[in-house]
């Protein structure tokens, strides 16, 4: 650990940039504790893998005197993106199985809203989220942290340095926006005023 301490000292004195210098250490720490956990894990334990990544981060960065950097959010964001990829890969696989498994990639417009499986819903949300990322990155980040990262509004608020109320508000709006975007994309019928003039998302 002396090398890590050495580095952390440098970070503490502001001589090294934490993002560039610490993150590789976090990964290494993560691999290390994944191996340790493997050997003494109790069955039935439910812990979010992203939480585990957080833990590794805190362990490595906890030694630094001040919390002087803003990269926590950056790092958690990366962990959640990783989680998202795993979930999407799995959802794709399952949807392909359901549809006979021939296709390489499932196109969104081949799906329909009404008969879609939960996994297909995940895929739709993922695609719509990409659009939200262009339209409003901050809201997209909140959706990713909550939906794919399983973080509570409180945790997201702490992470992004906003109030819990703001997170809730963005989350409510984003859900409606994403859903509306998916519905417009699929061109399905809808009750009430609909996608006419709804130019938020681009139609492919």
């Amino acid at each position: 650990m002396t090398d890590i301490t050495l580095m952390l000292d440098a970070v503490g004195r502001g001589e090294a940039s934490p993002s560039a210098d610490l993150l590789p250490l976090v990964y290494d720490e993560l691999r290390r504790c994944a191996a340790v956990r493997m050997s003494r894990e109790s069955p039935g334990q439910t812990m979010q893998p992203t939480a585990m990544v957080h833990e590794a981060w805190l362990r490595v960065s906890g030694g630094v005197r001040e919390r002087r950097w803003q990269n926590r959010a950056h790092f958690f964001g990366a962990a959640v993106e990783a989680m998202r990829r795993i979930l999407i890969e799995s959802a794709r696989r399952k949807s392909r199985l359901k549809r006979g498994g021939g296709q390489i990639r499932l196109e969104l417009n081949e799906l329909e809203l009404a008969g879609s499986s939960p996994d297909e819903k995940v895929l739709m949300i993922d695609e719509a989220l990409e659009r939200l990322e262009t339209a409003d990155p901050e809201k997209a980040r909140i959706v990713a942290l909550k939906f794919f990262g399983g973080r509570t509004s409180r945790e997201v608020a702490d992470l992004l340095g906003v109030t819990e109320r703001t997170v809730e508000r963005h989350w409510a709006f984003a859900k409606a926006w994403l859903f509306q975007c998916i519905r417009a994309e699929l061109g399905s019928e809808r009750p009430g005023p609909g996608p006419v003039g709804f130019d938020g998302p681009n139609r492919a």
Binding site: I4, A91, P118
Partner: protein, 721 residues
């Protein structure tokens, strides 16, 4: 935020109980904007369904997580997450135009894959993906800044770096020539190369580094793992890899101290020069590479680095820096003698000899060559990599080498330097004694000459001292005191550090619109560039030309453009920049005639850039070409080039604005006032917006401050004409 208004309306309406109340509110709030109102109503109507939709999605997510954990366990799940973190990409993934084929290796800061490039040509490349944590944009910007210089490197012992970009998930990547080889120290030991064969490989490496240095490129991270040996028709060929990457990543001390999972050091500080060890040092130059070459030579000879890497970091950073700065390592032959017998025998065996013979082989020339490259004071090292190679070749040819053991006097001086306080008192006594001995005239004259020499050296040392201080101040953005420090300093010797300081100060004055002072500092910068003989100072010419023209110093600008032509007689280099900066203001027929070869070279280079897909450079060159055609009066061609520049997918705001201005000027001459007005309008907006706030320095990708300044100078011409 684009959706802020929508969200505000949505949120307020959502809080309202009745549908009628909501409708009334939205009618009122949206006013004429029918589309907005309908969008909000649709969002509100989606509310409950959206909740259900997301709830079902969340259940699927939870299910997947549960099965992931039940099949792989929690640790396995976490490992899966870490395997999906940026930096790690699944095999088969496309990154830009590269498809990953297999993982080749992993270091502290990146993962290297073998990949296949699909277009414009099909080839295998090595793709290095930098792990999360680097600010992608600035890494790429720093790489772009050096790209032109990197492209000029053409040497059989240097692996090309082709490209840099961002992966879809964010982190930057570098695509480079695929080198299938073994790192040099392993190769030498596996093949039990004797000392002469090792030296032969080393000389080739020196020549490669020399080539890069002549192009103005410092490697910054020379170490065995960055030098691979491959076999070509049975002949061992060393290849230096990772050129430009260390600099793009601003690799710093702390990165060199990264540890792996099992506590091993990656990229040990053992190859780091003393000046690299000083954090915050901004002036890593070619002499730092010479030091690293010295460490490599030392290791090839004695099988160990001058300082033990583990010991170096064992007592903290400060201790490490002190060691690098102050402690002289043992000579290679002595180091060998200090090894435990078994290790010494193994080291000698890998060199096809025994310990006693090996020590005898190293003693003398080779010892001193290595030690000269490893001098703490970089001015005492070999001036160039070539110099180092020549000494090795002299040794191999049994000729006298230039490296010598330090003289008694030199060692005494070093002693004094280290113990200044002690000697300050004693020195006065000694001086009195010497004076008392009586001196002949001859001795007196000798001494005066020595004194003069001393004064000159002292003056130079003072200047360097000032520069070092100023560099530190500049790195902390304390520009004013740095400026005061060097305002009147003059230099007769090249100083890379000094150039960096004057560049920063010139930019500082320019961004605060003090054009005259900016021109003075940049003038000194160009002077230093010239002393150095680097061929990569064309960007500095853009800085100075823009400042002179903007400041209205017409005489200064005339002198400047004549000097620029003298400085770049070779039209194959930076022709587009020379054209652009010399034609910023109208030119007389004489100057136009002088510039014609540059225009021809630029057009040829543009065609090559197009063919190789280097759109960034192609677009810049098209812009310069349009300005050239305009200045010489071929307005149709000027329009054609400007439009071509604007049509490139690769966008850059100041370049586009400048092209629009040339377009406006040329269209007016062609008698198309409507087109001219439209182009002028397109340029005016962004330029005026840019100068409304404080001037930023910018980046190669978004455009530098001087790119904007050039545009503004032309805007004045186009608006006034």
């Amino acid at each position: 935020m684009k959706l802020a208004r929508e969200e505000e309306l949505f949120e307020t309406a959502r809080q309202m109980a009745g549908g009628a109340k909501r409708r009334a509110y939205l009618q009122e709030a949206c006013g004429e904007d029918e589309g907005l109102r309908r969008r909000i109503e649709a969002l509100l109507a989606a509310g409950d369904e959206a909740e259900d939709f997301f709830a079902e999605g969340s259940r699927a997510v939870a299910g997947t997580l549960a099965s992931l954990q039940s099949s792989r366990g929690l640790a396995g799940a976490a490992a899966a997450v870490s395997a999906h973190l940026p930096g790690e990409e699944p095999i088969g993934t496309w990154i830009g135009r590269y498809q990953l084929l297999r993982k080749m290796g992993e270091g502290g800061c990146g993962v290297v894959y073998e990949a296949e490039q699909s277009e414009p040509i099909r080839r295998r490349v090595a793709l290095k993906i930098i792990k999360l944590g680097m600010e992608t944009k600035s890494v790429i910007a720093r790489f772009e800044a050096e790209r032109q210089a990197l492209a000029m490197m053409d040497h059989p012992n240097i692996a090309h770096v082709f490209d840099a970009g961002a992966t879809r998930r964010g982190p930057p990547y570098f695509a480079m020539e695929l080198v299938r080889g073994v790192k040099i120290t392993d190769y030498c030991d596996q093949h039990q190369l004797g000392i002469p064969q090792r030296l032969d490989l080393f000389v080739q490496i020196c020549h490669a580094i020399q080539h890069a240095h002549q192009k103005g490129i410092v490697h910054g991270d020379i170490k065995p793992s960055n030098i691979m040996v491959t076999l070509h028709d049975g002949v061992a060929v060393p290849k230096v890899i990772d050129f430009g990457i260390s600099k793009a990543m601003e690799a710093r001390l702390s990165e060199k101290l990264m540890v792996t999972a099992d506590g091993q050091l990656i990229g040990t500080p053992a190859y780091m020069s003393p000046e690299q060890g000083e954090m915050g040092a901004v002036d890593i130059d070619t002499r730092s590479d010479i030091y690293s070459l010295g460490v490599l030579l030392y290791e090839l000879l004695a099988g160990r680095t001058p300082f033990d890497p583990k010991e170096l970091v064992a007592h903290g950073l400060d201790a490490m820096r002190r060691t690098l700065r102050e402690q002289d390592p043992p000579r290679p032959s002595i180091r060998l003698r200090g090894l435990p017998p078994a290790e010494a025998t193994a080291t000698a065996a890998a060199r096809r000899t025994d310990p006693a013979k090996l020590a005898a082989l190293l003693r003398g020339d080779l010892d001193w060559i290595a030690m000269k490259a490893l001098e703490k004071d970089r001015r005492r090292r070999y001036e160039t990599a070539n110099g180092l190679a020549m000494d090795i070749l002299r040794h191999l040819a049994h000729e006298p080498v230039s490296a010598r053991p330090p003289s008694r006097l030199y060692r005494f001086r070093k002693l004094v330097r280290r113990n200044r306080a002690v000697f300050a008192g004693a020195g006065a006594v000694a001086l009195a004694l010497v004076a008392g001995l009586g001196t002949s005239t001859w001795l007196f004259l000798q001494e005066r000459e020595a004194e003069r020499q001393e004064t000159r050296l002292l003056h130079e040392a003072e200047s360097r001292q000032k520069i070092t201080q100023a560099a530190l101040l500049v790195s902390q953005e304390h520009f004013a005191p740095a400026d005061a420090l060097v305002a009147h300093a003059t230099f007769a010797q090249p100083t890379v550090e000094g150039a960096a300081v004057f560049r920063s100060l010139g930019e500082w004055h320019a961004t605060e619109a003090r054009w005259k002072t900016a021109a003075e500092r940049l003038g000194e910068l160009l002077h230093l560039d010239a002393l150095d003989g680097w061929d990569v100072s064309s960007l500095d010419h853009l800085r100075q030309g823009a400042v002179l023209a903007e400041g209205g110093d017409l005489e200064g600008y005339e002198r400047f453009r004549q000097a620029a032509l003298k400085r770049y007689p070779d039209t194959s280099q930076a022709a587009d920049r020379i054209l652009k900066i010399c034609l910023l203001l109208p030119a007389d027929p004489g100057l136009l005639a002088q510039l014609r070869p540059y225009a021809d070279a630029n057009a040829a280079a543009l065609a090559r850039a197009d063919a190789s897909g280097d759109l960034f450079m192609a677009a810049w060159r098209a812009m310069s070409q349009s300005l050239w055609e305009y200045r010489r009066g071929d307005y149709r061609q000027a329009v054609a080039w400007a439009q071509r520049c604007l049509n490139y997918r690769e966008s850059n705001a100041p370049r586009a604005a400048t092209a629009q201005l040339v377009l406006a000027l040329a269209e007016r001459r062609l008698g198309h006032p409507a087109e001219a007005e439209a182009a002028l309008l397109a340029a005016r907006g962004p330029i005026e917006a840019k100068f409304r706030g404080p001037i930023e320095r910018g980046t190669p990708v978004q455009g530098f401050w001087f790119d904007w300044l050039l545009a503004r100078v032309l805007l004045r011409e186009a608006a006034g004409a």
